[in-house]
């Protein structure tokens, strides 16, 4: 049986890395608004992804306002691709088992 990456498998984190896989860079407010999470939740999910080496966090200032940007690392991109492959393999296995029964 194919193992799924538990870091990515969590629904909110899966959505974060999937969004980041479609863009070059996104900021905190974009992820917050798009996902509809609380600031605390988003921060904790990002923290987990950053610790896993999947997301790169860049903090800066735009004028006097702090601005935080995120981009998917190459490790994150590979992990997401592997995740989809694993998920497809599980689905295929499930479909084959279902048709045999």
């Amino acid at each position: 049986m194919t193992d799924l990456d538990r870091t990515i498998h969590e629904p909110a984190r899966l959505r974060i890395v999937t969004i980041l896989s479609g863009v070059d860079v996104a900021d905190f407010n974009f992820l917050l608004e798009t996902l509809g999470l609380t600031k605390g939740n988003l921060s904790s999910h990002i923290d987990r992804l950053e610790r896993a080496g999947y997301v790169e966090v860049t903090k800066s200032f735009k004028g006097k306002m702090p601005h935080t940007e995120f981009r998917l690392t190459s490790d994150g991109r590979e992990a997401l691709a592997a995740y989809w492959d694993s998920l497809d393999a599980i689905r295929a296995l499930r479909d084959n088992t279902g048709s045999e029964q």
């Binding site: 798009t34 509809g36 600031k39 904790s44 935080t68």
Partner: protein
């Protein structure tokens, strides 16, 4: 990732809509566009003033207009390259986009090569400007009919726009501009019954440069609204029932909360 045969509710669609949204954020372009348009209007008025003063032999007014043209042109160049100009565009864009945040698409692995790739842009823009200056001089000397200024401009402009669209990986909306530009030029060259004749023929080049450009950006902006709506719907579906809203640590005070 194989994404060709995904159903419409597949989470992988989130990446597609995020990309479509990021490639269609046109407000920064529109802000620059309005600024350039204002500068062109000012330059046009000053040029007209200088010409009128020259005809009436008012040397003082004529030189004042020439100096003002030089100052405005330098101001435009400064705004285009200065950090302050970029900050103003960012501030206005953020104000227009409200709280939806920022996302950008430059293509996979583009960040490293982007600066290197874009070095040729000022050179290409200078060549484009020179080509159009030649066209304007020819039109001024009555060696090129004003009506044919747009067909004269079209091959060079369409090539430039096409290269810019591909290199900057802009969305489909951006192609509207060269397509409409080319169509307008062909209709004009073919003698189609278009408005703006005789002394108003110069309006065609203005419509092609500013009108079709602005139209394509407005279409891009409207598409970005649609893409964002689709993205939000997909990204938020199923989150609340899956425990994603489990309590986490509180946000940092102030700023973006990250």
């Amino acid at each position: 990732m194989s994404q060709s045969s995904e159903p419409r509710d597949d989470p992988r669609q989130i990446a597609k809509w995020a990309e479509r949204y990021a490639r269609s954020r046109t407000i920064p372009f529109l802000v620059q566009w309005v600024f350039i348009l204002l500068i062109v209007v000012v330059l046009g008025a000053l040029s007209q003033g200088a010409l009128t003063a020259w005809r009436h032999e008012q040397a003082g007014v004529q030189w004042a207009c020439v100096v003002a043209i030089a100052v405005v042109t330098l101001g435009l160049l400064w705004f285009s390259v200065a950090r302050w100009g970029q900050q103003q565009i960012w501030r206005i864009s953020q104000w227009v986009y409200g709280k939806e945040g920022y996302a950008a698409y430059r293509g996979a692995g583009a960040a490293a090569g982007a600066a290197k790739r874009m070095r040729w842009v000022p050179a290409a823009a200078a060549l484009l400007a020179l080509y159009h200056l030649v066209g304007a001089v020819l039109a001024g000397l009555h060696m090129l009919p004003m009506k044919l200024l747009l067909p004269f401009s079209a091959p060079c402009m369409i090539l430039f726009l096409g290269v810019m669209i591909v290199s900057q990986r802009l969305g489909f909306w951006a192609w509207l501009w060269p397509v409409l530009y080319g169509l307008h030029a062909v209709l004009l060259a073919a003698g189609a019954p278009l408005p703006f004749v005789e002394r108003w023929e110069f309006v065609h080049i203005i419509v092609a440069v500013f009108g079709w450009g602005a139209l394509s950006m407005v279409v891009g902006h409207l598409y970005s609204r649609y893409a964002l709506r689709r993205l939000k719907k997909l990204a938020r579906s199923g989150l609340s029932e899956t425990g994603a809203d489990a309590p986490g640590p509180g946000p940092e005070p102030g700023g973006d909360g990250a």
